[in-house]
Amino acid sequence: MKMEILKKASRIVISISVLVVIWQLAVFSGRYEPSLLPSPAKVFEGMSELIKDGTLLTHFRVSLSRFFIGYLASIVAGITLGLLLGWNKKVWSFIEPIVQVLRPVSPIAWFPFIVLWFGIGDAPAIVIIFIAGFYPILLSTVSGVGNVDAIYLKVADNFGIRQPQMLFKIILPAAFPLIANGLHIALGSAWVFLVAGEMVGAQSGLGFLIIDARNSLRSDLVLAGIIFIGVLGLLLDRLIKFLETGIEKQWGISRRGMN
Protein backbone atom coordinates (compact mmCIF):
# COMPACT_ATOMS: atom_id res chain seq x y z
CA MET A 1 0.00 0.00 0.00
CA LYS A 2 2.77 2.43 0.98
CA MET A 3 4.76 1.42 -2.09
CA GLU A 4 1.72 2.15 -4.25
CA ILE A 5 1.42 5.70 -2.90
CA LEU A 6 5.15 6.24 -3.30
CA LYS A 7 5.06 5.00 -6.87
CA LYS A 8 2.10 7.21 -7.69
CA ALA A 9 3.75 10.26 -6.12
CA SER A 10 6.98 9.65 -8.01
CA ARG A 11 5.05 9.44 -11.29
CA ILE A 12 3.38 12.79 -10.59
CA VAL A 13 6.73 14.39 -9.75
CA ILE A 14 8.36 12.97 -12.88
CA SER A 15 5.61 14.09 -15.26
CA ILE A 16 5.53 17.62 -13.83
CA SER A 17 9.34 17.88 -13.86
CA VAL A 18 9.47 16.82 -17.51
CA LEU A 19 6.87 19.45 -18.38
CA VAL A 20 8.81 22.17 -16.54
CA VAL A 21 12.08 21.12 -18.24
CA ILE A 22 10.51 21.31 -21.72
CA TRP A 23 9.02 24.66 -20.80
CA GLN A 24 12.41 25.92 -19.57
CA LEU A 25 14.13 24.65 -22.73
CA ALA A 26 11.59 26.50 -24.86
CA VAL A 27 12.37 29.67 -22.91
CA PHE A 28 16.15 29.07 -23.26
CA SER A 29 15.83 28.67 -27.01
CA GLY A 30 15.16 32.40 -27.04
CA ARG A 31 12.61 32.13 -29.83
CA TYR A 32 9.75 33.39 -27.69
CA GLU A 33 9.42 36.80 -26.15
CA PRO A 34 9.39 36.72 -22.33
CA SER A 35 6.01 38.51 -22.30
CA LEU A 36 4.52 35.76 -24.48
CA LEU A 37 6.13 32.86 -22.63
CA PRO A 38 7.27 33.67 -19.10
CA SER A 39 9.90 31.38 -17.62
CA PRO A 40 8.96 28.80 -14.98
CA ALA A 41 10.99 30.69 -12.37
CA LYS A 42 9.09 33.88 -13.15
CA VAL A 43 5.74 32.10 -12.84
CA PHE A 44 6.71 30.46 -9.54
CA GLU A 45 7.76 33.86 -8.30
CA GLY A 46 4.36 35.19 -9.38
CA MET A 47 2.63 32.32 -7.61
CA SER A 48 4.43 32.94 -4.34
CA GLU A 49 3.74 36.66 -4.72
CA LEU A 50 0.02 35.95 -5.05
CA ILE A 51 0.10 33.65 -2.04
CA LYS A 52 2.18 35.95 0.14
CA ASP A 53 0.29 39.20 -0.37
CA GLY A 54 -3.00 37.42 0.23
CA THR A 55 -4.42 38.20 -3.24
CA LEU A 56 -4.92 34.52 -4.00
CA LEU A 57 -6.75 33.81 -0.75
CA THR A 58 -9.09 36.81 -1.20
CA HIS A 59 -10.03 35.83 -4.75
CA PHE A 60 -10.18 32.16 -3.90
CA ARG A 61 -12.63 32.81 -1.07
CA VAL A 62 -14.88 34.88 -3.30
CA SER A 63 -14.79 32.27 -6.07
CA LEU A 64 -15.40 29.40 -3.71
CA SER A 65 -18.44 31.00 -2.07
CA ARG A 66 -19.95 31.79 -5.49
CA PHE A 67 -19.15 28.29 -6.59
CA PHE A 68 -20.86 26.64 -3.65
CA ILE A 69 -23.96 28.82 -3.80
CA GLY A 70 -24.38 28.17 -7.52
CA TYR A 71 -23.54 24.48 -7.29
CA LEU A 72 -25.82 23.83 -4.31
CA ALA A 73 -28.66 25.67 -6.04
CA SER A 74 -28.17 23.49 -9.11
CA ILE A 75 -28.17 20.36 -6.92
CA VAL A 76 -31.41 21.32 -5.17
CA ALA A 77 -33.16 22.36 -8.39
CA GLY A 78 -31.73 19.53 -10.50
CA ILE A 79 -32.57 16.71 -8.08
CA THR A 80 -36.01 18.04 -7.14
CA LEU A 81 -37.09 18.58 -10.73
CA GLY A 82 -35.34 15.39 -11.82
CA LEU A 83 -37.29 13.30 -9.29
CA LEU A 84 -40.61 14.84 -10.30
CA LEU A 85 -39.97 14.64 -14.03
CA GLY A 86 -38.34 11.22 -13.86
CA TRP A 87 -41.39 9.91 -12.06
CA ASN A 88 -43.86 11.60 -14.39
CA LYS A 89 -42.77 10.30 -17.78
CA LYS A 90 -45.64 12.00 -19.61
CA VAL A 91 -44.68 15.48 -18.45
CA TRP A 92 -41.01 14.71 -19.08
CA SER A 93 -41.76 13.79 -22.69
CA PHE A 94 -42.97 17.37 -23.17
CA ILE A 95 -40.13 19.00 -21.23
CA GLU A 96 -37.30 16.91 -22.65
CA PRO A 97 -37.17 18.57 -26.12
CA ILE A 98 -36.80 21.99 -24.46
CA VAL A 99 -34.05 20.71 -22.19
CA GLN A 100 -32.23 19.09 -25.09
CA VAL A 101 -32.25 22.39 -27.02
CA LEU A 102 -31.09 24.48 -24.07
CA ARG A 103 -28.50 22.07 -22.73
CA PRO A 104 -25.83 22.49 -25.43
CA VAL A 105 -25.96 26.30 -25.08
CA SER A 106 -22.91 27.54 -23.23
CA PRO A 107 -23.96 29.29 -20.02
CA ILE A 108 -21.82 32.23 -21.15
CA ALA A 109 -24.21 32.78 -24.07
CA TRP A 110 -26.83 33.79 -21.52
CA PHE A 111 -24.53 36.46 -20.16
CA PRO A 112 -26.22 39.51 -21.76
CA PHE A 113 -29.57 38.46 -20.30
CA ILE A 114 -28.08 37.47 -16.99
CA VAL A 115 -26.67 40.95 -16.51
CA LEU A 116 -29.99 42.52 -17.46
CA TRP A 117 -31.98 40.24 -15.15
CA PHE A 118 -29.61 39.82 -12.22
CA GLY A 119 -27.48 42.96 -12.39
CA ILE A 120 -23.79 42.88 -11.61
CA GLY A 121 -21.75 41.70 -8.61
CA ASP A 122 -21.80 38.09 -7.45
CA ALA A 123 -25.10 37.19 -9.10
CA PRO A 124 -24.00 36.68 -12.74
CA ALA A 125 -21.21 34.25 -11.84
CA ILE A 126 -23.54 32.33 -9.53
CA VAL A 127 -26.22 32.10 -12.21
CA ILE A 128 -23.68 30.87 -14.75
CA ILE A 129 -22.45 28.18 -12.36
CA PHE A 130 -26.05 27.23 -11.68
CA ILE A 131 -26.78 26.80 -15.39
CA ALA A 132 -23.58 24.81 -15.91
CA GLY A 133 -24.38 22.43 -13.05
CA PHE A 134 -28.12 22.17 -13.53
CA TYR A 135 -28.39 20.15 -16.76
CA PRO A 136 -26.08 17.25 -15.90
CA ILE A 137 -27.78 16.87 -12.51
CA LEU A 138 -31.29 17.09 -13.96
CA LEU A 139 -30.61 14.58 -16.73
CA SER A 140 -28.82 12.07 -14.53
CA THR A 141 -31.59 12.25 -11.92
CA VAL A 142 -34.30 11.73 -14.54
CA SER A 143 -32.48 8.74 -15.97
CA GLY A 144 -31.69 7.44 -12.48
CA VAL A 145 -35.36 7.52 -11.51
CA GLY A 146 -36.34 5.97 -14.85
CA ASN A 147 -33.91 3.11 -14.29
CA VAL A 148 -35.00 2.13 -10.79
CA ASP A 149 -35.36 -1.65 -10.82
CA ALA A 150 -39.08 -2.46 -10.94
CA ILE A 151 -38.62 -5.14 -8.29
CA TYR A 152 -37.86 -2.51 -5.61
CA LEU A 153 -41.15 -0.78 -6.39
CA LYS A 154 -42.99 -4.09 -6.35
CA VAL A 155 -41.48 -5.01 -2.97
CA ALA A 156 -42.27 -1.58 -1.50
CA ASP A 157 -45.82 -1.76 -2.84
CA ASN A 158 -46.22 -5.21 -1.30
CA PHE A 159 -45.05 -3.94 2.09
CA GLY A 160 -47.56 -1.11 2.01
CA ILE A 161 -45.14 1.75 1.38
CA ARG A 162 -46.94 4.65 -0.32
CA GLN A 163 -45.91 8.02 -1.67
CA PRO A 164 -44.18 10.18 -0.52
CA GLN A 165 -42.27 7.53 1.53
CA MET A 166 -41.75 5.58 -1.69
CA LEU A 167 -39.80 8.54 -3.09
CA PHE A 168 -37.44 8.91 -0.14
CA LYS A 169 -37.11 5.28 0.92
CA ILE A 170 -36.91 3.60 -2.45
CA ILE A 171 -36.60 5.82 -5.51
CA LEU A 172 -34.02 8.34 -4.31
CA PRO A 173 -31.58 5.79 -2.88
CA ALA A 174 -32.07 3.43 -5.82
CA ALA A 175 -31.34 6.26 -8.25
CA PHE A 176 -28.44 7.53 -6.18
CA PRO A 177 -25.51 5.97 -8.08
CA LEU A 178 -26.59 7.69 -11.30
CA ILE A 179 -27.35 10.95 -9.50
CA ALA A 180 -23.90 10.90 -7.91
CA ASN A 181 -22.41 10.49 -11.35
CA GLY A 182 -24.32 13.58 -12.49
CA LEU A 183 -23.13 15.54 -9.44
CA HIS A 184 -19.57 14.67 -10.33
CA ILE A 185 -19.91 15.79 -13.96
CA ALA A 186 -21.72 18.94 -12.85
CA LEU A 187 -18.91 19.82 -10.46
CA GLY A 188 -16.38 19.79 -13.29
CA SER A 189 -18.44 21.86 -15.66
CA ALA A 190 -19.46 24.31 -12.91
CA TRP A 191 -15.80 24.90 -12.05
CA VAL A 192 -14.96 25.56 -15.71
CA PHE A 193 -17.77 28.09 -16.02
CA LEU A 194 -17.02 29.75 -12.69
CA VAL A 195 -13.80 31.06 -14.15
CA ALA A 196 -15.44 31.94 -17.46
CA GLY A 197 -18.23 33.78 -15.64
CA GLU A 198 -15.80 35.74 -13.53
CA MET A 199 -13.82 36.73 -16.60
CA VAL A 200 -16.78 38.42 -18.23
CA GLY A 201 -18.65 39.96 -15.39
CA ALA A 202 -16.87 40.20 -12.07
CA GLN A 203 -14.53 42.47 -10.20
CA SER A 204 -13.16 39.69 -8.02
CA GLY A 205 -12.49 35.97 -8.05
CA LEU A 206 -10.01 33.69 -9.78
CA GLY A 207 -11.32 34.53 -13.27
CA PHE A 208 -11.00 38.21 -12.55
CA LEU A 209 -7.49 37.61 -11.23
CA ILE A 210 -6.48 36.42 -14.70
CA ILE A 211 -8.19 39.27 -16.53
CA ASP A 212 -6.64 41.75 -14.12
CA ALA A 213 -3.16 40.27 -14.71
CA ARG A 214 -3.67 40.44 -18.45
CA ASN A 215 -4.75 44.07 -18.22
CA SER A 216 -1.56 44.91 -16.40
CA LEU A 217 0.44 42.85 -18.93
CA ARG A 218 1.66 40.36 -16.36
CA SER A 219 1.68 37.11 -18.33
CA ASP A 220 3.50 35.40 -15.47
CA LEU A 221 0.52 36.08 -13.19
CA VAL A 222 -1.88 34.89 -15.89
CA LEU A 223 -0.10 31.54 -15.94
CA ALA A 224 0.12 31.48 -12.15
CA GLY A 225 -3.67 31.97 -12.01
CA ILE A 226 -4.22 29.18 -14.52
CA ILE A 227 -2.11 26.78 -12.46
CA PHE A 228 -4.03 27.65 -9.27
CA ILE A 229 -7.37 27.13 -11.00
CA GLY A 230 -6.25 23.74 -12.27
CA VAL A 231 -4.94 22.56 -8.92
CA LEU A 232 -8.01 23.78 -7.01
CA GLY A 233 -10.32 22.14 -9.57
CA LEU A 234 -8.43 18.89 -9.11
CA LEU A 235 -8.75 19.12 -5.34
CA LEU A 236 -12.51 19.73 -5.59
CA ASP A 237 -12.85 16.75 -7.89
CA ARG A 238 -10.97 14.54 -5.42
CA LEU A 239 -13.15 15.83 -2.59
CA ILE A 240 -16.40 14.86 -4.31
CA LYS A 241 -14.93 11.52 -5.37
CA PHE A 242 -14.11 10.92 -1.71
CA LEU A 243 -17.65 11.83 -0.63
CA GLU A 244 -19.08 9.68 -3.41
CA THR A 245 -17.23 6.53 -2.30
CA GLY A 246 -18.14 7.30 1.31
CA ILE A 247 -21.84 7.46 0.54
CA GLU A 248 -21.69 4.49 -1.82
CA LYS A 249 -20.15 2.49 0.98
CA GLN A 250 -22.97 3.53 3.28
CA TRP A 251 -25.40 2.46 0.56
CA GLY A 252 -23.68 -0.91 0.50
CA ILE A 253 -22.89 -0.64 -3.19
CA SER A 254 -19.17 -0.08 -2.99
CA ARG A 255 -17.66 -1.61 -6.09
CA ARG A 256 -15.02 -3.46 -4.14
CA GLY A 257 -17.64 -5.04 -1.90
CA MET A 258 -19.40 -6.72 -4.84
CA ASN A 259 -18.97 -10.42 -5.22
Binding site: Y152, D157, F159
Partner: protein, 256 residues
Protein backbone atom coordinates in the same frame (compact mmCIF):
# COMPACT_ATOMS: atom_id res chain seq x y z
CA UNK B 1 -62.52 -22.07 1.11
CA UNK B 2 -59.60 -19.86 2.11
CA UNK B 3 -58.22 -19.02 -1.33
CA UNK B 4 -60.43 -19.69 -4.30
CA UNK B 5 -59.52 -19.05 -7.89
CA UNK B 6 -62.59 -19.17 -10.08
CA UNK B 7 -62.20 -19.31 -13.85
CA UNK B 8 -59.25 -16.91 -13.78
CA UNK B 9 -57.74 -16.06 -17.19
CA UNK B 10 -55.07 -13.54 -18.09
CA UNK B 11 -54.62 -12.37 -21.66
CA UNK B 12 -52.11 -9.91 -23.03
CA UNK B 13 -52.28 -7.86 -26.17
CA UNK B 14 -48.95 -7.19 -27.76
CA UNK B 15 -48.76 -5.43 -31.14
CA UNK B 16 -52.37 -6.34 -31.79
CA UNK B 17 -51.77 -10.03 -31.10
CA UNK B 18 -53.56 -11.74 -28.28
CA UNK B 19 -51.67 -14.19 -26.12
CA UNK B 20 -53.29 -16.19 -23.38
CA UNK B 21 -50.83 -16.65 -20.57
CA UNK B 22 -53.35 -18.23 -18.26
CA UNK B 23 -56.58 -19.97 -19.24
CA UNK B 24 -59.57 -20.57 -16.97
CA UNK B 25 -57.84 -21.71 -13.84
CA UNK B 26 -59.95 -23.15 -11.04
CA UNK B 27 -58.18 -23.90 -7.80
CA UNK B 28 -59.06 -23.99 -4.13
CA UNK B 29 -56.49 -23.73 -1.38
CA UNK B 30 -56.98 -24.31 2.32
CA UNK B 31 -55.50 -22.27 5.10
CA UNK B 32 -52.06 -23.54 6.08
CA UNK B 33 -51.57 -25.61 2.95
CA UNK B 34 -48.26 -25.81 1.14
CA UNK B 35 -49.01 -25.63 -2.58
CA UNK B 36 -46.43 -25.91 -5.36
CA UNK B 37 -47.19 -24.56 -8.81
CA UNK B 38 -45.05 -26.74 -11.04
CA UNK B 39 -44.42 -26.47 -14.75
CA UNK B 40 -42.03 -25.44 -17.51
CA UNK B 41 -41.48 -21.79 -18.41
CA UNK B 42 -44.43 -20.20 -20.13
CA UNK B 43 -47.01 -22.28 -18.27
CA UNK B 44 -48.40 -19.23 -16.49
CA UNK B 45 -47.31 -20.18 -12.98
CA UNK B 46 -45.81 -16.75 -12.27
CA UNK B 47 -48.87 -15.09 -13.83
CA UNK B 48 -51.09 -17.08 -11.48
CA UNK B 49 -48.92 -16.11 -8.51
CA UNK B 50 -49.13 -12.43 -9.49
CA UNK B 51 -52.92 -12.68 -9.64
CA UNK B 52 -53.02 -14.09 -6.10
CA UNK B 53 -50.54 -11.44 -4.94
CA UNK B 54 -52.66 -8.69 -6.48
CA UNK B 55 -49.82 -7.29 -8.61
CA UNK B 56 -51.94 -8.20 -11.63
CA UNK B 57 -55.66 -8.77 -12.22
CA UNK B 58 -57.37 -11.49 -14.24
CA UNK B 59 -58.94 -10.45 -17.55
CA UNK B 60 -61.83 -12.74 -16.62
CA UNK B 61 -62.71 -14.73 -13.53
CA UNK B 62 -61.80 -13.84 -9.95
CA UNK B 63 -59.33 -14.60 -7.20
CA UNK B 64 -60.88 -14.53 -3.74
CA UNK B 65 -59.18 -14.70 -0.38
CA UNK B 66 -61.45 -15.20 2.63
CA UNK B 67 -64.33 -14.46 0.30
CA UNK B 68 -62.95 -11.08 -0.74
CA UNK B 69 -61.93 -10.37 -4.33
CA UNK B 70 -58.22 -9.57 -4.68
CA UNK B 71 -57.66 -6.25 -6.44
CA UNK B 72 -54.35 -5.00 -5.09
CA UNK B 73 -51.28 -6.14 -3.16
CA UNK B 74 -51.52 -6.43 0.60
CA UNK B 75 -49.11 -6.91 3.51
CA UNK B 76 -51.14 -9.97 4.29
CA UNK B 77 -49.68 -11.70 1.23
CA UNK B 78 -45.96 -11.20 0.81
CA UNK B 79 -44.17 -12.27 -2.36
CA UNK B 80 -40.58 -13.53 -2.31
CA UNK B 81 -38.74 -13.25 -5.61
CA UNK B 82 -36.02 -15.28 -7.23
CA UNK B 83 -33.62 -12.35 -7.13
CA UNK B 84 -34.64 -11.61 -3.53
CA UNK B 85 -35.64 -7.94 -4.05
CA UNK B 86 -33.44 -6.80 -1.18
CA UNK B 87 -32.57 -3.11 -1.08
CA UNK B 88 -28.79 -2.99 -1.63
CA UNK B 89 -28.34 0.32 0.21
CA UNK B 90 -29.84 -1.04 3.42
CA UNK B 91 -28.21 -3.36 5.93
CA UNK B 92 -29.78 -6.73 6.67
CA UNK B 93 -31.47 -5.27 9.76
CA UNK B 94 -32.85 -2.27 7.88
CA UNK B 95 -34.06 -4.55 5.08
CA UNK B 96 -36.02 -6.66 7.51
CA UNK B 97 -37.43 -3.50 9.09
CA UNK B 98 -38.77 -2.30 5.73
CA UNK B 99 -42.19 -3.90 6.00
CA UNK B 100 -42.58 -2.78 9.61
CA UNK B 101 -42.08 0.87 8.72
CA UNK B 102 -45.58 1.33 7.38
CA UNK B 103 -47.02 -0.08 10.61
CA UNK B 104 -47.60 2.14 13.59
CA UNK B 105 -44.94 0.82 15.93
CA UNK B 106 -42.03 2.49 17.68
CA UNK B 107 -38.54 2.39 16.28
CA UNK B 108 -37.34 0.29 19.19
CA UNK B 109 -40.12 -2.23 18.81
CA UNK B 110 -39.40 -2.36 15.09
CA UNK B 111 -35.76 -3.32 15.47
CA UNK B 112 -36.67 -5.79 18.20
CA UNK B 113 -39.07 -7.60 15.88
CA UNK B 114 -36.59 -7.45 13.01
CA UNK B 115 -33.81 -8.93 15.15
CA UNK B 116 -36.09 -11.71 16.28
CA UNK B 117 -36.76 -12.77 12.68
CA UNK B 118 -33.11 -12.42 11.69
CA UNK B 119 -32.38 -14.79 14.56
CA UNK B 120 -35.09 -17.14 13.26
CA UNK B 121 -33.29 -17.51 9.92
CA UNK B 122 -29.92 -17.78 11.67
CA UNK B 123 -28.32 -14.57 10.46
CA UNK B 124 -27.87 -12.64 13.72
CA UNK B 125 -24.14 -12.37 13.10
CA UNK B 126 -24.80 -10.62 9.78
CA UNK B 127 -27.42 -8.04 10.70
CA UNK B 128 -25.07 -5.12 10.00
CA UNK B 129 -23.94 -6.51 6.62
CA UNK B 130 -25.24 -5.28 3.31
CA UNK B 131 -26.88 -7.73 0.87
CA UNK B 132 -23.95 -7.60 -1.58
CA UNK B 133 -21.72 -9.01 1.14
CA UNK B 134 -23.87 -12.13 1.56
CA UNK B 135 -24.15 -15.34 -0.46
CA UNK B 136 -27.30 -16.09 -2.47
CA UNK B 137 -28.65 -18.46 0.15
CA UNK B 138 -28.11 -15.93 2.91
CA UNK B 139 -29.79 -13.22 0.85
CA UNK B 140 -32.84 -15.43 0.42
CA UNK B 141 -32.89 -16.00 4.20
CA UNK B 142 -32.98 -12.23 4.65
CA UNK B 143 -35.89 -12.03 2.21
CA UNK B 144 -37.66 -14.75 4.22
CA UNK B 145 -37.07 -12.91 7.49
CA UNK B 146 -38.33 -9.69 5.95
CA UNK B 147 -41.49 -11.39 4.68
CA UNK B 148 -42.19 -13.20 7.96
CA UNK B 149 -41.55 -10.09 10.07
CA UNK B 150 -44.81 -8.48 8.96
CA UNK B 151 -46.64 -11.68 9.96
CA UNK B 152 -48.55 -12.26 6.71
CA UNK B 153 -51.07 -15.09 6.41
CA UNK B 154 -49.86 -16.08 2.96
CA UNK B 155 -46.37 -16.35 1.52
CA UNK B 156 -46.05 -16.35 -2.25
CA UNK B 157 -42.72 -17.59 -3.53
CA UNK B 158 -41.70 -17.11 -7.13
CA UNK B 159 -38.92 -19.62 -7.82
CA UNK B 160 -37.17 -18.41 -4.67
CA UNK B 161 -34.38 -20.98 -4.89
CA UNK B 162 -33.89 -20.83 -8.65
CA UNK B 163 -30.61 -18.94 -8.46
CA UNK B 164 -28.97 -21.22 -5.90
CA UNK B 165 -26.67 -24.20 -6.36
CA UNK B 166 -28.11 -27.68 -5.75
CA UNK B 167 -26.67 -28.17 -2.25
CA UNK B 168 -27.75 -24.75 -0.97
CA UNK B 169 -31.13 -25.37 -2.54
CA UNK B 170 -31.72 -28.45 -0.43
CA UNK B 171 -30.66 -26.69 2.75
CA UNK B 172 -33.05 -23.87 1.92
CA UNK B 173 -35.86 -26.34 1.19
CA UNK B 174 -35.38 -27.76 4.71
CA UNK B 175 -35.35 -24.22 6.07
CA UNK B 176 -38.56 -23.22 4.28
CA UNK B 177 -40.30 -26.38 5.48
CA UNK B 178 -39.19 -25.68 9.06
CA UNK B 179 -40.43 -22.07 8.92
CA UNK B 180 -43.72 -23.18 7.39
CA UNK B 181 -44.30 -25.68 10.18
CA UNK B 182 -43.23 -23.24 12.86
CA UNK B 183 -45.19 -20.22 11.63
CA UNK B 184 -48.23 -22.00 10.13
CA UNK B 185 -48.41 -19.90 6.99
CA UNK B 186 -50.18 -20.74 3.76
CA UNK B 187 -47.45 -21.02 1.14
CA UNK B 188 -47.82 -20.96 -2.63
CA UNK B 189 -44.51 -21.85 -4.14
CA UNK B 190 -43.66 -21.59 -7.83
CA UNK B 191 -40.99 -23.95 -9.14
CA UNK B 192 -39.90 -25.89 -12.20
CA UNK B 193 -37.98 -28.43 -10.11
CA UNK B 194 -39.99 -31.63 -9.72
CA UNK B 195 -38.10 -32.97 -6.68
CA UNK B 196 -38.40 -29.63 -4.95
CA UNK B 197 -42.17 -29.73 -5.43
CA UNK B 198 -42.44 -33.34 -4.17
CA UNK B 199 -40.30 -32.49 -1.14
CA UNK B 200 -42.22 -29.38 -0.14
CA UNK B 201 -45.82 -29.58 -1.29
CA UNK B 202 -49.01 -30.87 0.28
CA UNK B 203 -50.42 -30.67 -3.22
CA UNK B 204 -48.66 -30.12 -6.51
CA UNK B 205 -50.50 -28.10 -9.15
CA UNK B 206 -49.24 -29.32 -12.52
CA UNK B 207 -49.31 -26.62 -15.17
CA UNK B 208 -48.68 -26.84 -18.91
CA UNK B 209 -47.87 -24.07 -21.41
CA UNK B 210 -49.48 -22.44 -24.47
CA UNK B 211 -51.92 -21.55 -23.26
CA UNK B 212 -50.93 -21.77 -19.59
CA UNK B 213 -53.37 -23.89 -17.66
CA UNK B 214 -53.72 -26.34 -14.81
CA UNK B 215 -53.40 -29.90 -16.07
CA UNK B 216 -53.90 -31.75 -12.82
CA UNK B 217 -53.39 -31.57 -9.09
CA UNK B 218 -51.38 -34.27 -7.34
CA UNK B 219 -51.64 -34.97 -3.61
CA UNK B 220 -48.42 -35.69 -1.77
CA UNK B 221 -49.55 -37.66 1.27
CA UNK B 222 -46.05 -38.21 2.66
CA UNK B 223 -45.14 -37.59 6.28
CA UNK B 224 -42.67 -34.84 7.04
CA UNK B 225 -39.78 -34.53 7.12
CA UNK B 226 -39.56 -36.30 3.80
CA UNK B 227 -36.77 -38.57 2.70
CA UNK B 228 -35.58 -37.46 -0.73
CA UNK B 229 -34.39 -40.99 -1.53
CA UNK B 230 -37.25 -42.95 0.00
CA UNK B 231 -39.29 -45.24 -2.27
CA UNK B 232 -42.59 -43.40 -1.60
CA UNK B 233 -40.91 -40.17 -2.51
CA UNK B 234 -39.62 -41.62 -5.76
CA UNK B 235 -43.01 -43.09 -6.62
CA UNK B 236 -44.67 -39.72 -6.39
CA UNK B 237 -41.81 -38.15 -8.28
CA UNK B 238 -42.35 -40.70 -11.05
CA UNK B 239 -46.04 -39.86 -11.18
CA UNK B 240 -45.18 -36.21 -11.71
CA UNK B 241 -42.67 -37.14 -14.40
CA UNK B 242 -45.42 -39.11 -16.11
CA UNK B 243 -47.80 -36.14 -15.92
CA UNK B 244 -45.31 -34.11 -17.93
CA UNK B 245 -44.79 -37.05 -20.29
CA UNK B 246 -41.11 -37.03 -19.43
CA UNK B 247 -41.24 -40.75 -18.79
CA UNK B 248 -42.64 -43.61 -20.80
CA UNK B 249 -45.92 -44.42 -19.12
CA UNK B 250 -45.73 -47.51 -17.06
CA UNK B 251 -48.88 -49.58 -16.75
CA UNK B 252 -47.72 -51.79 -13.89
CA UNK B 253 -49.16 -50.80 -10.55
CA UNK B 254 -46.42 -52.12 -8.31
CA UNK B 255 -42.72 -52.61 -8.48
CA UNK B 256 -40.84 -55.46 -6.88
Amino acid sequence: MYISIEGASREYFFKGRRTVSLEKVNLEIQKGEFICLLGPSGCGKTTLLNLIAGFDRPTSGVVKINGEVVTKPSVNRITIFQNYGLLPWRSVLRNVELGLESKKISKKERSKIAEEYIELVGLSAYKKHHPAQLSGGMQQRVALARALAVDPEILLMDEPLGALDAMTRMTMQDEIERLWQEKKKTIIFVTHDIEEAVFLADRIVIMTPSPGKVKSVIDVPLARKRDRTGSDFLKIRDRVFAEFELKASDKTEYYL
